[in-house]
Subunit: 278 residues, 4 copies
């Protein structure tokens, strides 16, 4: 008995659920969970099913391909640990939360390596017997620096996700296109607010009563890529901007870990600069 | 073109989604939304679909009945305003919120009447041109009092839900059985905590940092019926128990209105003293 | 025995708490609650005390004035209902919540009148025996329209707060200056995000996972005035922008009512385009 | 210039704030923050001030002692890292979160040791160069087991707090009394709900829509000690009890770390089985 996650997205038309469930039925698969969503505005259909049964992955994929419209995207995924690379700069909270969850066996992931443009996090990464790769940006222009990073990333086969756990450098379009819909970032505020330098200082100056964080895929809209997860924490006038930053860190790590979990469980569809999450 | 909500619950077996979607497909229905859930522990299948198409309600119902197992519960519902009766005692917050939402056209409901065992709320109910029925419990034993209430309720045809908007009398099993899965209550705390008299005083004495409220169907487990919705609000040591009560009222009205909305939209399945909410 | 709220804000210097508490002690006042905050960045001191005792309000005020630095702002307030005027356009949710709370005796306020630029809300306001003043903006330029509103407002003595319960017209600087720190607005999104037309449509297009609302004082920064209260609600991809708007309404009414309550209880200091809330 | 946290609790009477602020004023101290609370029900006064100035800690303490009533509890604390011992059983999430925060320099604490009744967590603790002490309960009665633990704890001088980071053994009154108001526990549910074995299974069976966690001091009321912090997370019918447990772990670790932070910053007063938190 094998278990598969079946992800389908298509232009909406009648009969898609019927066709997919026909395949499941004819192959005697159990449906363990099933989610569909139709975006009427964009005429898009999304479906995620978890099934089990006595069937080969290729046969299931082919059966779906045969019955569904040609332009349909079909993914049949046998659950297994995904390969991820973490990138960080100097702050430990988001990275540390992922390292501990990984150590505790909470994540369906192998952490291949941690890349940083500083050495500050080497000690914590080493504790977990994970390769730490320091790639300083000093004396390099942005393209040269990214070349080195990309070369290192590409030395691994099958990198499923690159997680920016407070990596504080702006990525170029070339980098982003190379890993489309694979880069997950945590944004240190509630998008679309307080973009730019020192967002907590901005939030403090503005006297906000809530601090937020946003996890999103990185695309060429930069911090405006498809949102995966958002959360907030209440603050008040007694918080200095450093206090807001500390509280913000707690939200950031929770939101990033949550977004990563959703990605590892193949729960996210991306389209039209948005996400559908089942 | 008609729109229907199709609600199906059944003992789980292979092919249920296939069979339902076959019916939708063969009758050329559009699926506007679709949710399924399988409770593996209890081997129960739940499905709620919103469809539109050119089909008579009876034909759709019969088509589903023909293809699905005999023990399946099938509801095909044409969306329309449901008939509700509100019951309250003296507090205005939960009742008032429903009255205003009704007036604003936010609720898919006709409020047939408000029943109270006191007169305190007559003035507010009258403002909205809704019948107010005062049925005092004085000098009556519980059965006699409920007889009068039931007689009044039963003078209306087709009462879909009875909403206890802070009705502070315990109902007897006879009453509850007469309106099974039709009575929605708001419980003034976070179930299963602080059952009994003056829960806010109990919460205060206990020094809680959070106040909650729970909306649930009333069954013979009384305050232990299937939970529909829960929400909380943060409090602290500076709250007196009256302050906690005031804050609690805000949560209560939000949770009750939310639960009512879910019921009116036919989003709730009840089984095994629990709810599935789509 | 009288009860007073004492509000003091001053440039920070040593001894302010000592001086205030000396006055309280020498006049044998009980301190029922006491909050202080020092903004080190702006060198500002804020203090709110609730005291009771056998003392005349003027004597207490004078005693504080004598001992405190000249530039100190001193307010000694005997708690009583404040006079408020509500302004709205067509939507009922925020207005209705305040009307019901007022009717339930939850607010320390007299609602003098409701002003609207349409007639849509006349019926609901009339139910509560509150004057409804329709002042259409049709065929008037902005100044002429506001003249009429200001004339009507100024026909009342002692208007403490003007509450914009979804009043959808932009106010001119002249209007805002006339009622400085007296105008409370509810902003239909999470400031500083999604300013402009149809913020829920913007939020939908952006695929946000959280909808927020912000209550703030209106000053010449318009929607950027001092924030009083903020709250959020979680949404997901299945929400249309109209669904987001509906959910947003629930947050809006809660946040606005909360902000109004804080104002009525004299809990807010405004400075540097921010608020201190005790 | 030294900075002190001054914590005062006393039977309420007039003039306490005056007396304390007199001391601060006469010694030319700056008040950096100041909180007071009077519990009218229990006639108790609480005050926490952070001050700086050119004064010896003993002189400040003596000055306060001289002026305040004899029964007053006065603490003058020079901020420094507190010594804590962690106790855990097999689960890594709560312990891991504290270890990472400690490593990141977020905690005002030295972790002296981790004690466990199993070896499961030895590897993670060793990574952080913190002594791991395995004290198995096998073949020991409860008293014997605790003797060994107490002996180990008492081998350290000045243990400020003992943090039960998912330590799954019930403590005896003798142990609890030995470390009164020093033991912080995280309770795996929303007190006072779901006490007993497998609370997440209980919550699942009950169909709850919210999962909570409670951090509290341990006293002879066991899980009913003074609450420090509570938080919740929303769940739904699609969560198995193991899913609820996973979500619960996230809340547990956040709440415990938050409670520990409050303790380390000397923000908690305990009385009447409750807490006042500034």
């Amino acid at each position: 008995m094998a278990q598969y996650r079946v992800l389908i997205d298509a232009n909406d038309e009648k009969g898609l659920v019927y066709k997919v469930s026909t395949v499941f039925y004819e192959h005697a698969l159990n449906i363990l969970s099933n989610n569909e969503f139709v975006d009427k505005v964009n005429s898009k259909f999304f479906m995620r099913s978890v099934v089990d049964g006595d069937i080969n992955i290729q046969i299931l994929h082919d059966a779906l391909k045969t019955i569904l419209p040609k332009t349909t995207n079909i993914q049949v995924i046998a659950p297994k640990k995904k390969n991820i690379i973490l990138m960080a700069t100097k702050e430990m909270h988001a990275l540390g939360d992922i390292l501990i969850r990984h150590e505790a066996g909470e994540l369906e992931a192998n952490i291949l390596a941690v890349i940083s443009n500083y050495d500050a996090l080497e000690s914590i990464v080493n504790k977990f017997n994970i390769p730490f790769m320091s790639i300083s940006h000093e004396n390099l222009d942005r393209a040269e620096h990214e070349d080195k990073i990309m070369q290192y990333i590409d030395s691994y086969d099958n990198v499923d996700y690159i997680v920016l756990a407070k990596y504080m450098r702006i990525l170029t379009p070339r980098f982003i296109e190379a890993y489309e819909n694979k880069i997950i970032n945590i944004h240190h505020s509630f998008l679309p607010a307080f973009i730019g330098a020192n967002p907590y200082k901005q939030a403090y100056d503005r006297g906000v009563k809530i601090i937020g964080a946003t996890a999103h895929f990185v695309n060429n809209n930069l911090d405006e890529g498809p949102i995966i997860s958002q959360e907030i924490i209440h603050v008040n006038h007694a918080y200095s901007w450093k206090d807001m930053q500390k509280s913000g860190r707690d939200v950031e790590k929770i939101v990033l870990s949550h977004a990563l979990k959703l990605a590892l469980e193949d729960r996210i569809f991306v389209y039209a600069n948005k996400s559908v999450i089942f």
